[in-house]
Symmetry: D3
Subunit: 136 residues, 6 copies
């Protein structure tokens, strides 16, 4: 079993704002992240799959195909977007990095072939903050 | 003469959109960067000052004081903001990285003491795109 | 279950020196790290906690609160210090990166709320050397 | 139990080419990586060992000795080499990053003393592609 | 005047070998870099142009167009290639990073529009070795 | 004219403390950097030389020879040392990064052959603070 990771990049606007709360409560809990006019990030997305290397190629999975899948399934829907407004699979959810990582897993997992398993979605929001989700 | 650089960080939303143009022209010129609902970045800001080291301290400039000045003069106005909507010194300007670097120079330069000269504003928009402005 | 990591920074002096040994034995085992007059490092500290995202915030844990906790519990005691001389929780211990990571876990773990579990302390001593401790 | 990681570097030429296939099939599967005249990479090799810190030293393992072992057992055989042509332990194998990581494990594992266990070989082929192998 | 930099990536095989010398002399001068069977690198290419921001766009130059130009003029000819064998503009030259940077300047400069000037080609051969060429 | 840069690493202890001042003044000016028991850093040292590539080698300067010179002339005197106590060429000077960069220039410049000129000493004290010295 070998683990293969591909790193992709997107940038997006978002805010952390719970519509069930008033503005004061949102500012208290989310601070500057609740700014009504949005802020944004350069996200770095690490996708790790695992499997046995194919004897003919030496590959767990063709990394170019993995890159294409990540771009088609998630990056094109997220890059240069507003996470709260523009992304169908984030509707009705808090746009935290935690929830975004879980949603990326759910978008990507069904698109992978049976020969590999999705192992981890790791998502950097800033160079000093990241989350990891292992599907459970 | 020694050059001293301090790196600071902020993240912000913006869009590239010329209000004198219609939407089609904006999309043609700015592509995804013209998304009406904004996108955003983690900006890395490098501020370089130059001067002669003080014999008593060995410092061109106290780097903690430089950090405080950068934060007070520019980062607090930019961090977790919408560059187009929230930042007084970007009003009426295209929010390109080029124009943002020039504007940061103009905000910061008058706040520095006479003992040092501002040498360069270097601003990363993404890890693969940056601009530099030397004041002329 | 989502894993959330916050990266903090401190720099410190230390030496690797076993007082039960003579100088020759210390030099033999620790080489340049045994220099009596100390050396030092920029340490990068990765703290990972795990838990379920709160439905109201989307957070496993408020990352600003995590940052504050790490700074109060450990970084303020370590930053710009001598690990052998100035740090109460390293007294009587060899100041290896391994022992420092274990000690940071012990300082930080009781300060975290019951809603999250401490998962990993990862500590870079140099860009090419790091240790990880998972609490067992 | 503490995990200690040492990062080493080597650069090498290789190609991905299955001699059982004709050129068209190789190009179809491996694309530019099948270029007959080779291409190459700067590889970053992360070797992680685990064990209990020695009470006398605070070390899981002397990191300088670990570095020496990695260099002697694997880096000297790989650095500035052609992976397909020059490396005895890659003969008859596809030179994928996956297979290279497994082969490095097999070269390094027997050379480690009983006091530590090899935990992970992590190998970056480019800054955006890496594999991990845990020995099973 | 603002300086705009775009970073691109390619990887390639090469060797340092002067055909006017015998093998012993090549090994003496170039060491492991003279390995007959090639070695290789992940190159990071920084292209800096300078000019005045356009009032309508805020751009010195459209960075996506700059990226496309770099890829078309140089990266496609270098990526996954053998610098000595496959690259027309390196024929008859020593494939040092110095000569490669000068050659990239010569390929790219005529392709840029009159509105910007090429300022610098910066080329990393490894994370610890890079060259810069300013056209003179 | 091509500029060639080699990056080297050392770590060291130091403090910022002016012996002509009392402790209160030192703490006021230098803050935590005045800690009597020292602190330390991982320094990254960038040495840039410039010259014309040699037609026979394509080199401005043999980068392995440059690395050896840097190590012999400066890194061996600085690595795992106390800058204030152990380094002959820092005696009687404030151990600021500015003064350290100037001193490194003075140590290294006479050791270089006439075929290249020393262009810049760039020295990172932390990942967010660096200085540059160009010899004038």
């Amino acid at each position: 079993m070998v683990y293969l990771t591909r790193v992709e990049h997107f940038n997006a606007a978002h805010k952390l704002y719970n519509p069930a709360w008033d503005e004061a409560r949102n500012e208290e809990v989310f601070g500057k992240c609740a700014n009504q006019n949005w802020h944004g990030h350069n996200y770095e997305l690490y996708v790790t799959v695992k499997g046995d290397p194919d004897p003919d190629t030496g590959f767990v999975f063709d990394v170019k195909r993995l890159s294409t899948l990540i771009r088609e399934q998630v990056v094109e829907k997220l890059d240069h977007r507003n996470l709260n407004m523009d992304v169908d699979f984030m509707q009705g959810k808090m746009c935290s990095t935690e929830n975004l990582a879980i949603a990326i897993w759910k978008e990507l997992q069904p698109a992978l072939p049976a020969s590999v398993q999705l192992h981890c979605i790791k998502l950097y929001e800033t160079p000093r903050i990241y989350v990891e989700y292992f599907g459970e």
